[in-house]
Symmetry: C2
Subunit: 634 residues, 2 copies
């Protein structure tokens, strides 16, 4: 079923300024400061099992809940991000750190291959007793993703082999065979990691294990729900079921029957990512249809304009259609990072620009907002409206988003291209160079642009001798109206096929395609049932959603109104926030000077003329506490 394959991060070189700067920052600031934080917070030390020693000091939240049970995943994600970074530039110190982590994990691993540092240290007798809440399989998945990434980046397989032993142990433990437990993870993640392991090693048993986990999920056909079996075995009281519903972990019904996105957003989207992987691997129409229904549900009713997902803090997840509050938006960084993963898989299943549009939206906006300009501060939840009290942190009680955004940025090169037998698809722009196998040969592609600030894009092609004719498919984003294109200086009609301009020919060395995607500043409106956005507009230019921050605006951002007939202009400011395009426009702002003492009165407040300056959403909150709004009254 899969016609297209992604092109691995290690095969694409980022040359354009936007992502080059972000990659430099990740390698120079994010990866080393994260390592320091992992060290400082005892997370690296927790890999060393000392059953006789007193427990490490661990953070707890106000409900006396610790995140130590997730620490293995933090290590795995750091290894993964660092490994992607090594493709961008080698770094001996980072490699030595990964080797040291490998040593620790090798020592920690139990003789039977089991490798969860919390359980090995704290309660070895309780392995696999609470898949629902305690993240053993999730941790295993993240360590595995780290191992695969390190192997891909360096060819070193020591960590990979440790993780393969662990996966073999897991494959023995879980399954439908005699003596096996019919369990599956409460927090999905290992499924997609196993598909990566299968791709890296070619060993089908890992694909089979991923398939088992996805197929068994929510199964109550002739068996009791696995999390209920577990719960009874543990003797839990009802209060110990924190979220109280299997929707939280998307195990309320078999995955093929699911058509509404529910529960914890990150869990959900990791699951859907694995479902799309397996749909491709097995040509599984049932999984593909479920993915399509879930995709439609989430993008048509449950997505922030910034590509954020999961509005509610309560379940870190989904609530109901059109429920997208701005000031209390959860929109976890991890969830939109996960959306990039899922969208990339959907795009491989089915080359439709809609998937790439959402991939780009989630990447450039909600995800990228998660990482500060200095590369060492983060957002966990991504508000779309703030009175100034929401600001970035250098570390978090639950640091999952930290390494999720760095692994995304460090691997961004992997999302630019797709290939099929006789087709090369360009999904993203921004300056990226690669050599791809196509049409019995190879083609060197060099895409040059100052995207996302500018929509003028040039692609130089250099097929090697003997490469047959192939289709170059250039994504025309849905926001790009009146796009124009030229091949070797000659205008070609921009007629798109499901979001892509497709040009089939025998390409020659020296061929150049020029694409122009106009990027006017535009107003966006939300569906009339998005209560929070009624009467408001958001600003967009190209792939970027904008916001107004207090520091750039003379009037309080909460009082600003942008009348419907105001012209918007945009300009690139090289010296502002590292070089960004701002949007400006004339506006009105309510005045409070004559308001008086009452909080409410019958007369409206008078308005004064003002103007607004909007900056890209992803760059907000890099200048200290700063009130901000994405949605502006019209």
């Amino acid at each position: 079923m899969r016609t297209y394959s992604s092109v691995d991060f290690s095969k694409v070189k980022i040359t354009g300024p936007f992502w080059h700067e972000r990659l430099d920052t990740v390698m120079e600031s994010t990866i080393p400061t994260q390592y320091d934080q992992l060290e400082k917070h005892n997370i690296l030390d927790s890999l060393t099992i000392r059953p006789e020693a007193p427990p490490l000091t661990i953070p707890k939240n106000r409900h006396n809940f610790t995140t130590q049970i997730f620490w293995d995943s933090d290590v795995g994600k750091w290894v993964e991000a660092a490994s992607y970074g090594l493709s961008h530039r080698r770094d001996e110190k980072v490699e030595a750190q990964i080797e040291d982590i490998t040593d620790k994990l090798k020592k920690a691993q139990a003789p039977d291959g089991y490798l969860n540092c919390w359980y090995l240290q704290r309660e070895p007798e309780n392995r696999w007793t609470n898949l629902r809440d305690n993240h053993e399989l999730y941790n295993a998945g993240h360590l595995l993703e780290g191992a695969v990434a390190y192997y891909r980046a360096t060819g070193r397989d020591r960590l990979l082999k440790i993780m393969m032993r662990y996966m073999d142990h897991i494959a023995e433990t879980f399954g439908t065979g005699e003596g096996q437990r019919r369990g599956y993870p409460g927090h999905e993640e290992i499924e997609l990691a196993l598909v990566k392991l299968y791709h890296a090693t070619g060993e089908k048993k890992y694909l089979d294990l991923a398939t088992y986990f996805v197929d068994e999920r929510g199964n109550t056909d002739g068996v009791e729900h696995y999390f209920e079996i577990e719960r009874e075995e543990r003797g839990d009281t009802p209060e110990m079921f924190f979220q109280g519903t299997h929707e939280y972990s998307q195990s309320h019904k078999p995955v093929r029957e699911q058509d509404k996105v529910v529960g914890h957003a990150v869990r959900a989207i990791y699951l859907y990512t694995a479902m799309a992987d397996l749909a491709a691997e097995h040509d599984d129409d049932g999984l593909k249809s479920a993915c399509e229904a879930l995709w439609k549900d989430v993008t048509e009713t449950r997505m922030y304009v910034t590509g954020g997902f999961g509005p509610s803090e309560r379940n870190e997840g989904f609530t109901k259609d059109y429920d997208l509050p701005n000031e209390t938006a959860y929109a976890e960084t991890c969830a939109s990072v996960a959306m990039v993963f899922w969208a990339a898989r959907m795009l491989n299943l089915d080359l439709d620009g809609h998937y790439a549009d959402i991939l780009e939206l989630a990447l450039y906006n909600n995800s990228l907002a998660g990482l500060s300009k200095d590369g060492a501060h983060y957002f966990y939840d991504n508000k779309l409206d703030s009175d100034g009290s929401h600001s970035r942190w250098a570390w978090h009680f639950c640091p999952c988003c930290t390494m999720n955004v760095s692994r995304l940025v460090a691997s961004v090169a992997g999302y630019f291209y797709g290939v099929a037998e006789t087709e090369v698809a360009v999904h993203l722009y921004g300056g990226a160079e690669t050599t791809l196998p196509v049409a019995g040969g190879k083609v060197h592609l060099k895409e040059t642009s100052n995207y996302p600030w500018d929509g003028d894009i040039r692609i130089d092609l250099a097929p090697e001798e003997g490469t047959g004719p192939f289709t170059l498919s250039l994504r025309i984003p849905s926001w790009a109206k009146d796009a124009t294109a030229k091949v070797n200086g000659e205008a070609v009609e921009v007629k798109t096929e499901r979001g892509y301009l497709k040009m089939n020919r025998t390409w020659s060395k020296g061929d150049a395609v020029e694409l122009s995607l106009p990027m006017p500043a535009e107003r966006l409106r939300a569906h009339p049932d998005v209560r929070a956005d009624a009467g408001k507009v958001a600003l967009r230019r190209g792939p970027l959603v904008y916001c107004i921050e207090q520091k750039d605006n003379e009037q309080p951002v909460n009082r600003v109104r942008l009348p419907g007939d105001t012209a918007l202009s945009s300009s690139f400011r090289p010296d502002f926030l590292g070089g960004i395009t701002v949007i400006e426009g004339k506006a009105k702002a309510e005045q409070a000077a004559d308001w008086g003492k009452a909080l409410y009165r019958t007369e409206p407040a008078p308005e004064a003329d003002t103007s607004i300056t909007a900056v890209p959403y992803y760059i907000w909150a890099n200048r200290g506490p700063n009130p901000m709004a994405v949605w502006i009254r019209e």
Copy 2:
């Protein structure tokens, strides 16, 4: 300092239809169904101490937290509400139930007078070890208020005597004397209850104890903060300080230094109520000034248009200026009930119609919304915007609001009048009859109206022989523009003095004053810094704030817009929801038919003409799940 006194609930007869119906409902439905719930949920049984028996089954929330430590207060509040009701109509069954509760409390009481059923049953060795969190003094206060109310309503003092013994024990335990603990309640309440006990008995020691609790609160002058002393004695870990701040209990600084309302809203307003009581008792300018500063703060920056207080679920309380979200509004019923208490005290300190305006606002809107039309369903939190998922419950995990709203409604008669030596002030209208001591004599007052539906009010006066000249002060609500008045049919000029029309003369039997308060339907706007209400209007008529409920409106309420030039009309509908006045107007509503699949798009949605029907906020959610909005886009 206090010039005015309230007129006790037991001295005023409610004759007008609005409150008569609510009082009937409370006596016929609320009081008996609450008793049944107290029985069903083991709350009455918990008064019987059986140290050897297994603990009662008690409800816990998802953080494994029980409310049983508050149960004494629920019993106290039920006794209090029922006692007020007995003034409206005697009821032998209710009296027998209170006697039975009295028997149980008498048996439960420890030889030294201590009487907290949780501690007596569960952990008698831990008395008074956690005033910060465990509500011992709060429970004592509510039981005491119940005892005072029962004594006032019936003259029976058995319960009162039990509580006086308990108060004597508390007075021995706490104070600045040698061997005493310098403690005070984490949840204020007992302070105002002790003032009531002082008024009922004349025993100054109870006033002294209230004064001590208020004065000692937040004291760190030469002593350690009491809750820190306690905490160290308990050996708590830092995580056990659930809210993590003394602002939560208004003990972050001495009360006289407080000028911002902070923390848990109900605790705060109960404290301010006691402060106003003590300001009057002691002629204490420091306390009065603090009350005035806090009043100004809360009413000018932190009050919902419905008279709700405390926007946040997290601390059940205050956040910051102008932070008044609608869909997530907490606005606990208890907090606005408490506001009625506080406002009544402020009004006695200082006859300013502003206090009565807020009293009326909190009473008729946020408070009254807490009790269903059938008298047996409740709101704890009072949203100002709902997608239909917020509905009333018959009982609550934490049933505090249940009995708070019933005790308010049952005692509403006590808020109508104030008296001074030569003045009678009428604060509220709605049909109430009383005989008051004034100017060396007495006057019978009969106020007749169909308020709040109609602003035509008639007051018949019948002074007894020998009553001197006095001032009749009629409140002219701030919302009433162009009020007119007549005395014995002759127009008098409506010139107000701080919100009251004051008429001084020698009144004669047969004198009648007619007052006409026009009640047009009006739009209200919020201060420009109330982010949640920007660009929106609320509807008000007289003392009532309105809302639009889905069942009465053809278009989805979230899509409705009320253009600024739309005329609003109002009409009384005798057969609708028991007889209410509705507001109607022409409106516009966004249409989604052509919206397409995307959640966001550049073109605005077209609008269609529609009309709206608004109902009083207090009556919403009496017809099943029903989307609702108070604030409507303009």
